[in-house]
Amino acid sequence: MNYASFIRGARAGIKSLLLHKTRSLLTMLGIIFGVCSVIAMLAIGEGASFEAQERIRQKGALNIILRSKKPSGDASAGGAQRSYIADYGLKYADMERIRHSVPGIKRMLPQRLEAKRIRFPKHAECEVVGTLPLYREMIPNDMVAGRFLTDWDEREQKNICVLSEDLARSLFSHESPLEQEIRVANRAFTVVGVIRELSRVYQAGAGTGGPVSEGRVFVPLHTFRSHMGEQNIRRSAGSYQVERVQLSFLTVEFNNENDVARAAPLIRHALADLHKKQDFVVEVPLDELRALEATKRLFSFVLGSIAAISLLVGGIGIMNIMLATVTERTREIGVRRALGAKKRQIIAQFLMETGVLSVVGGLIGVVVGVFFPYLLSWGIHAMTGNEYRVVVTVWSVLMALGISVATGIAFGVYPARRAAELDPIEALRHG
């Protein structure tokens, strides 16, 4: 079949479909809904995992994150006594142990977090973060003003700090925070910079649980260690408890993904004899990402399959109506055969009609299907106030369109063949 006769066939197909506009539209609805639901389902599936993927990506695919965790057994022991000292979590020694026993490490970033109260220039709850200048490179962030911690600060145990953007705004609403002084836990620090954190992975860290923090204060780790010590005394109604934690987080960055995949058991093994209790957890973002992707694939497959069933129903609708059309146009088929049409020309004619139905239906479905998820997302936002993210991907659109056309044509073959196999004599006598 050449191009010109293809065009003529398509035009003839459109023409005979336009003879029964309502019927054609109703037939197409099946395909329209099918395509629309395939695209929408996949967009919802994609959107649902998008946030989680983003969060994991913020942790860094090449990182392994060790997080200090208060062992569960200690809480009950503390209940019996009035006061006790809880000594747990990651130590500086662990860092050295890992550095020497696990291959492929590029660099390591320790962090110590502690909830403290700022007393000047005004009262505020904050989280003090003792860390290294490396933080700036390893954890996603933007410098808003001034500078970050330096090696000099670290070595000299400078009493300087960098404020998170939100805290800087609430402490110094009408003036630049740079070169200003703040007092945290009875110690004075000079503000040298303001930072915007782009990752929330290390916030609400271990050891907190007190009042809601208004922001974060970054100080050199060395300063933190010598001025604030490793003990955190928490007083409550006649008792107090002391926690001794050296490091809250240890982020280990590797050279490549293969090293990451091997490292987690090595790290656990290296630290096993130093930590009799389960007082730290190992997070492997790469594993989480892979697990999530596997889940997402399954999710998309299930959602897509459900939607594909509606496409199937649409296809059956097309087949049904085409069978009716063949019966209705039996005499026309007989006439065409008498006038010289071969069987395959009859097949081509009817396939062209189903093709036009499914292609037009598919295209309408794509247009509706691309907008529908956003409408849904907007509707959910308007009604519940929750952000509901949807992501329409190009491949989902192409897939939906491809399946709809394939379904339409596949379900068009049977009616078309039935039309072609009619006995011309019988067909001419029909009706």
């Binding site: 005979s16 008498a338 006038l339 010289g340 004599i425």
Partner: protein, 237 residues
């Protein structure tokens, strides 16, 4: 073999297998039709004339015997070959007109040409000429439903002429028309005959048969009468 014949049937037999019964609709029919003939085939229903018509129209294959159309043996052709023979050598005119509703007059005339691979754009002039030949120059864009029965039958005749067939096969072409319109259509056939077309027409009507120059009467699957004569129109009343 007589090369002069346009149609030659030799011992043509058609048997329908109805399961337990075998029904022989056509028994060893021999018939020769010369070019330029106007043959009327008559007979009661069940006489085998419909079967003969289907065989002549290459819509069916004989059980035995041979059918030579324009020098070509079509008795053992397959479905695609028969389709080509129908499209190229035979022009059909039906009692029910059988135009295609969604197509205009010109497009209907073009249908047989389309199946021979000719685009409407390339042969529109020819189709328009044919419409003029049957007196419908002013109805080119009309749909069949917008035309009277007589006009529809004219379109059907123009369509039958489109591929310049060796034979026009007409099945009761006036059966659905009133006598005046029927006469007009018959006049049209006579004109075509006068121009040298070969016409084979199945009919019940004696009046119709009188216009033919040969009348073949069928009964019980056999030709029982075969009369050649001068058509009445040429005889002064």
């Amino acid at each position: 073999m007589d090369d002069h014949a346009i149609i030659r049937l030799e011992q043509l037999t058609k048997t329908y297998d109805l399961g337990e019964v075998k029904l022989t609709a056509l028994r060893e029919v021999d018939l020769v039709i010369e070019p330029g003939s106007f043959v009327a085939i008559m007979g009661a229903s069940g006489s085998g004339k419909s079967t003969l018509l289907n065989l002549l129209g290459c819509l069916d294959r004989p059980t035995s015997g041979r059918y030579i159309l324009g020098g070509v043996d079509v008795s053992d052709m397959d479905d695609d070959e028969l389709s080509d023979v129908r499209g190229q050598r035979i022009g059909f005119v039906f009692q029910q007109y059988n135009l295609i509703d969604q197509l205009s007059v010109v497009e209907n005339i073009h249908v047989p040409l389309g199946y021979q691979g000719r685009e409407l754009a390339d042969c529109r002039a020819q189709c328009v000429d044919l419409a003029g030949l049957v007196g419908l120059s002013d109805r080119l864009g009309h749909r069949p439903k917008q035309l009277s029965g007589g006009q529809q039958q004219r379109v059907a005749i123009a369509r039958a002429l489109a591929n310049d067939p060796v034979m026009i096969l007409a099945d009761e072409p006036t059966g659905n028309l009133d006598s005046t319109t029927g006469k007009e259509i018959l006049d049209l056939f006579c004109n075509l005959h006068a121009q040298g077309k070969t016409i084979v027409m199945v009919t019940h009507g004696e009046e119709v048969a009188k216009r033919a120059n040969r009348v073949v009467v069928m009964s019980d699957g056999r030709i029982v009468q075969d009369v050649r004569r001068t058509p009445t129109q040429l005889v002064p009343a």
